[in-house]
Amino acid sequence: MDLAVLAGGIMIAFGALAAGIGNGILFSRYLEGIARQPEARGTLFGQGMITLGLVEALPIISIAFGLLVLFGIIGG
């Protein structure tokens, strides 16, 4: 088997794993915040979405490089 396919697959898999853990923690805290203070839903949603963008960055960078490796554009 072509090793680049394996490498790309591993990078995408770990990116997805990390994003899953990060978003899970983020939104569990978001829901806890709403449960404690339902009137803060609006501000929490905005802040949560900004944090979502920050948290998603490193996994998605890993996935983008994984896709580049997978299609043999770099590191072939």
Partner: protein, 248 residues
């Protein structure tokens, strides 16, 4: 994976698709700004109302980071970044043009080998922000601008900041400063690039991929594009404000 037409000039490679994308985005931003600021009224309505909303939204970002006197100077800069990145992101999702090449075009760098490797599909329009050179250029410009402003404000404070609170923390500060433009550029590029590649994969996949999954992913891409444009602007203002903020 599709390829792009390229021009060799003075030993550098220029990507025609990226140039078209950047140009179209810039012209579109210019048209939108000109149309919405035409015939300004004290009592805004319609398009002017909408554009004032955008500017006030960005004013909220700059006021969050800087005091109101200094924030006013950076609102124009932040609105420019936001509009360019936002329209660039959304344009690539809505308007992605891929042509099927029938013959090689050596003047555009589309030789037979290149076309065979890309299954004859040539991209003519995509997000300018899905090319890493564009985002690195933008993040690099913000990096140099923020350091320039920091040095201009007070060279002593600027140099002193690197050895705070202890001298041995200098390497940490240097890594921190270098990581900022790299992650700033890679964050935007990776989000848009991964989104576009998945659209291409879904578009060319089996029938069960081109239906609801493609529509759902396009919707998510529009959302991600808006979020990333906002985050790019916020981070640009954070990096600038860190350099010009008063000591407290």
């Amino acid at each position: 994976m599709e390829t792009t037409p390229k021009i060799e000039f003075l030993g550098l490679t220029f990507d025609v698709t990226v140039m078209i994308g950047t140009l179209v985005t810039a012209i579109l931003v210019l048209i939108i700004v000109l149309l919405t600021s035409r015939g300004r009224n004290l009592r805004p309505k319609g398009a002017q109302n909408f554009f004032e909303m955008v500017v006030e939204f960005i004013q909220g970002v700059t006021n969050m980071m800087l005091d109101s006197k200094r924030a006013a100077k950076y609102v124009g800069f932040a609105v420019t970044i936001f509009l360019f990145v936002f329209i660039g992101n959304e344009l690539g999702v809505i308007l992605m043009i891929t042509a099927h090449a029938t013959g090689p075009m050596p003047s555009l760098g589309l030789t037979k080998d290149v076309l065979d490797a890309a299954d004859n599909s040539v991209s003519w329009f995509k997000s300018p922000t899905s090319d890493i050179n564009v985002t690195v250029a933008m993040a690099g410009a913000i990096f140099f601008f923020s350091h320039f402003m920091g040095i201009r404000k007070s060279p002593r404070d600027y140099l002193n900041h690197y050895v705070q609170p202890y001298f041995w923390m200098l390497p940490l500060h240097l890594i921190d400063e270098l990581a900022k433009p790299v992650t700033h550029a890679a964050r935007l590029w990776a989000n848009i690039f991964a989104g576009e590649v998945l659209i291409i994969i879904l578009r060319e996949g089996m029938w069960y991929l081109t239906g609801i999954p493609l529509i759902a992913w396009i919707g998510f891409s529009l959302f991600v594009g808006a979020i990333q444009a906002y985050i790019f602007t916020v981070l640009a203002m954070v990096y600038i404000s860190q350099k010009i903020a008063d000591e407290h």
